[in-house]
Symmetry: C2
Subunit: 720 residues, 2 copies
Amino acid sequence: MRKIVSLFILLMTASRLFAEDGYRLWLRYDKIDNSILLQQYRNNISSVVINGSSPTIIAARQELLAGLDGLLAKKVPEAKEIKNNSIVIFKKTSGFPETIGVDYTALGEEGFAISTLKLSSKGNAEDIIAISANTDMGVLYGVFYFLRLLQTHQSIQHLSVISVPKIQLRILDHWDNLNRSVERGYAGISIWNWHTLPDYIDQRYIDYARANASIGINGSVLTNVNANALVLTKTFLEKVAALANVFRPYGIKVYLTARFSAPVEIGGLKTADPLNAEVQQWWKKKVDTIYQYIPDFGGFLVKANSEGQPGPQNYQRTHADGANMLADAVAPYGGIVMWRAFVYSNETPTDRFKQAYDEFKPLDGQFRKNVLIQVKNGPIDFQPREPFHPLFGSMPQTPLMMEFQITQEYLGQATHLVYEAPLFKECIDADTYAKGKGSTVAKIIDGSLDNHSISGIAGVANIGNERNWTGHPFGQANWYAFGRLAWDHDLASAQIADEWIKQTFTNNKTFVDGVKEIMLASRQIMVNYMTPLGLHHIMGTGNHYGPAPWVNNVGRADWNPVYYHRADSIGIGFDRTSSGSNALSQYTSTVSGPWSNLKTCPDEYLLWFHHVPWNYTMRSGRTLWGELCYQYYSGVDSAKWMQQTWNKMEGWTDEERFRQVKMLLTIQEKEAVWWRNACLLYFQTFSKMPLPDGYEKPGHTLEYYKGLRFPFAPGNGGNL
Amino acid sequence: MRKIVSLFILLMTASRLFAEDGYRLWLRYDKIDNSILLQQYRNNISSVVINGSSPTIIAARQELLAGLDGLLAKKVPEAKEIKNNSIVIFKKTSGFPETIGVDYTALGEEGFAISTLKLSSKGNAEDIIAISANTDMGVLYGVFYFLRLLQTHQSIQHLSVISVPKIQLRILDHWDNLNRSVERGYAGISIWNWHTLPDYIDQRYIDYARANASIGINGSVLTNVNANALVLTKTFLEKVAALANVFRPYGIKVYLTARFSAPVEIGGLKTADPLNAEVQQWWKKKVDTIYQYIPDFGGFLVKANSEGQPGPQNYQRTHADGANMLADAVAPYGGIVMWRAFVYSNETPTDRFKQAYDEFKPLDGQFRKNVLIQVKNGPIDFQPREPFHPLFGSMPQTPLMMEFQITQEYLGQATHLVYEAPLFKECIDADTYAKGKGSTVAKIIDGSLDNHSISGIAGVANIGNERNWTGHPFGQANWYAFGRLAWDHDLASAQIADEWIKQTFTNNKTFVDGVKEIMLASRQIMVNYMTPLGLHHIMGTGNHYGPAPWVNNVGRADWNPVYYHRADSIGIGFDRTSSGSNALSQYTSTVSGPWSNLKTCPDEYLLWFHHVPWNYTMRSGRTLWGELCYQYYSGVDSAKWMQQTWNKMEGWTDEERFRQVKMLLTIQEKEAVWWRNACLLYFQTFSKMPLPDGYEKPGHTLEYYKGLRFPFAPGNGGNL
């Protein structure tokens, strides 16, 4: 009871402050707390000169003035005349002189330049900072970049910045249903309040657009890939249009998921066969209507013939037939189709790992120019660690789009601190060797390897209507990191973490260094306490919450954990070599060679590709069983270390978020122990080997862990 | 398009401010903007002297220091020594001198006194303000009252305040499900995040407790009356206990809804028969367990044998049998049972209006002392206007508890500005004449009429996880008004509106007067455009959204609007006189007399009790049809007037909420027109009479209105 009261009092202390509820994300613009730096900034920023009056320039103006107002704690005047220490924002075409030394052709549609210039006007040499671009959007991106320099306490002297996005389509996928539940959402319900749209414009819609524009995201798929055709009816298109109007000035296009059977469900047709003329006509008409409501509609995202969703195969047509039909409908308007490669069938006995490749590789070259194939980073489903998807490098004639999952469906959901940038980078930097060394996934998705004219990357959003958007305060870092990497996949995880921490919490070095250390280590720590050595898909059924490696009774084989770990008296792991499912043959030999060989396969992928005997001697010298125990226990130890490190941060940031994270890290450790004990007790029934000496014994029996039930765990269908 | 952009820019202007998101409710404590007053307050408050260290006193201390810190924009020191202009908070028993002239026995458990005193210490006469009570909770209530004086710019000189609640149990009923959906909730999902409890304590839980304590609410029923037995399992009780620990210092007890069939569903028994010894034993054991987790658990709220909920009648037992069984289980712990009178059966052919009375009146005197019967304000179901429930005054031997609905299920849901205090007051002030003139509903529910030792009032909460708690900013006023009236039912609606506006928005007179005028008129305006002249229950099926007087095909008769309005070629209205269902016989003759007579029945109840010919001449001189048209059209005109009045308020408050309300009032007018047109076009098919000259013609046909569908309207079962 004392403990409760003291926690309670601790909490109460903050309630008086309404301190920092996290709503402002990384756009807080609080006063610079370094007085010397503050003075420098004030000296270097005397006025703002803005050219243009488009909604986008108005947005840039608002953001810049609001940002400076907060950061410098003074009103920076807006001037018509360029004076010494003016910040000048302009578009190349707007009559201002081109900035010396900037190659505007290289900036393209979205790039920008920030340059410190000496302008001589009326005989005086004026120092100014020019934020310029070819387009209004480039200018807005430049303004956000400039504000980031101030928020992260960078020097703004002698600026010579050129920034151009490497990937064209940088998109958030919302798995949001029309009743506002969010599939795999752990931060409340959908921020799209369909019921009050179009007449009520929630402030969140604008702040959502601001946050995305600040990191370069330029597209939003509003609806769940498990789609509802009703969103294509006029009632909803009117609502979608209202959102598009809010997003437009921030350079964000809206996309919708197209339910393949819509012609039947809302069109009254007898078929949705993509080669049927009536069906094609229906989609053309539907698209005409959509563009009447949303002139710059982005296009469709489609999940077809996957997990019960209808698709062209219902009519013995190919994915290409389906995608091309929709592509032809949106092509006249410059729209695109994002067609998901996430397909697998329980009728097909083949290793699920192989099915997307088997289905799509043969279709390479058969898709329209405005179709992208959206491929998940790994072959199964957003696991803590997966090898890169074998489709990357296998469809040179088709633009492949990356699908990452920002929401933590398999990464501890809303209660685990897991910084995803290292996971994203691991995949992006992977070398497919498709065209020899250096054929990285990055070059495939940015289109450079095969010279595609269109490129894209998508992240499944972790956003909901909780006050801080993402539930776990560190979920914001994953939204941020996705956007930053979508803009520039060369950025280092540490660099992104550094700027996020500084903008979101504080520039205090102790805090930044300590928290960065936690963030950078967090993903590997989670792999260790959940699925070490290449284990995968051993989580709870349905809600995907917690460990359940014992599950073997789900309707279809490849939904059962036992299908993936294959533990038996001999060993554990999925043999995907030529002696097994031979999934490795889907990679180039340079990749599959080392992975196929037990001796050369990296530990982290071991059980992805090999069924390994319990007593096999690992690189560490431990047996496989010993190594498995070691990894699980070290994962839990590291989770404890995360707590201890965080606790040292008290006082360096606001109490409210400090305590939130403190409570969440306690839950994370508790659940890490749960994962470790449940998995090891279960695998031990096969290995028949004891826990190595000195390891603390599990607090419960295997039966206890098997008996746990979570009927209302969030993110799962009817659950919110 | 221009319109959209300009609205958009308007919105953007605010986004820079993160202005006022409404989260702080009426506890904003912003700096007093009247400089003279600010100086006075600063002069009169030099220090704070606090005696005590209980969690409740700590809460009072935190609130007082935080409030003064914000309102006076200076740190008021906490002192041990009473000095001139100290604010002294203490409990009578804590060794401080009793305040002169305060009758502490009259203050009871929760009352408080605030008095300006001259204390002579060391020869000097010190002016101090004493906030004192018999209990720590009384002190906390006094602190909130004192802060309200400052927030509403009242004088704090010569204070002599005595405040004691008139009703003992002042409770919020949450219709929150365990998956976080909220039945009839229109402000997002439940603030109870069951998944992360008990380890994660959301700041909202504390601010919820603060807000409730500030208006005197002392109980919270956490779960839906359509109950799920799982909340009674240990897994959930552990979570409930965590909430109880947060609420305890704020004087708020937690209650749960008891699913009557729990012994079968989670107890594994064959029956839930309340007279079965095993069942009684099961509940006793269950209650023992609950009190181990929550030593001050309040008790149970039960919906039994109503709308599909199980109950004692499933076993041919009475409501008294069921209530008493639970009452016996909680009695040893001082717990209570709130048993709902909201029962009606489709097997019973009787007018639904009469059924609760028929069921419960005969049971008067058969309930245990710790049972309260919870009666809705009216006989049907929270309609825009209902006569008071005939049970009030009919069960003198039983404490009747009021059930109001704060959430606007039938009052425009989250998009209509409807201030409910006048609705509450209309019922509270109604005279039942049970014991002659002056036998008001107020005296029945506060227990004074029949000298009950226990009294209660409940309000169905309108709270969700949206940033501002209630969706519509003015929904906060209804939460506030319920609490204030629960404490003191003599308060005037205008007085409550006045203090709410000042605390929530501003003390600016123009704003306060204008907005108060809107609030006080709003309920009657809604009655006019929705259900004038005593019409009731003609809303959409299921979601209860919008008009649907034509519906006649719902499974059970008394769920169909046609059952209630009974429109035909002769007239409209439900004959509840002796020539009809004779429901009026359930009232005392002093009440039923005038209501039974068409000539003396007040217009606002007319169609509740009479089937009136279309051409009947009303007091206004108009025919009934003409009057119906007049009321509907004047309702819409008044909705327009609300908009115009609000628009004049621009600049007197923050832009963010100004615009929110502006958008919502536009929706309200749109929906008022919808109600008017749909209802009049439909009733016209019976009256066969034209719209009076000069009324604008409906924009759509009846068929159009009949055709509207809202599959995802919120608050309805699966919908969020």
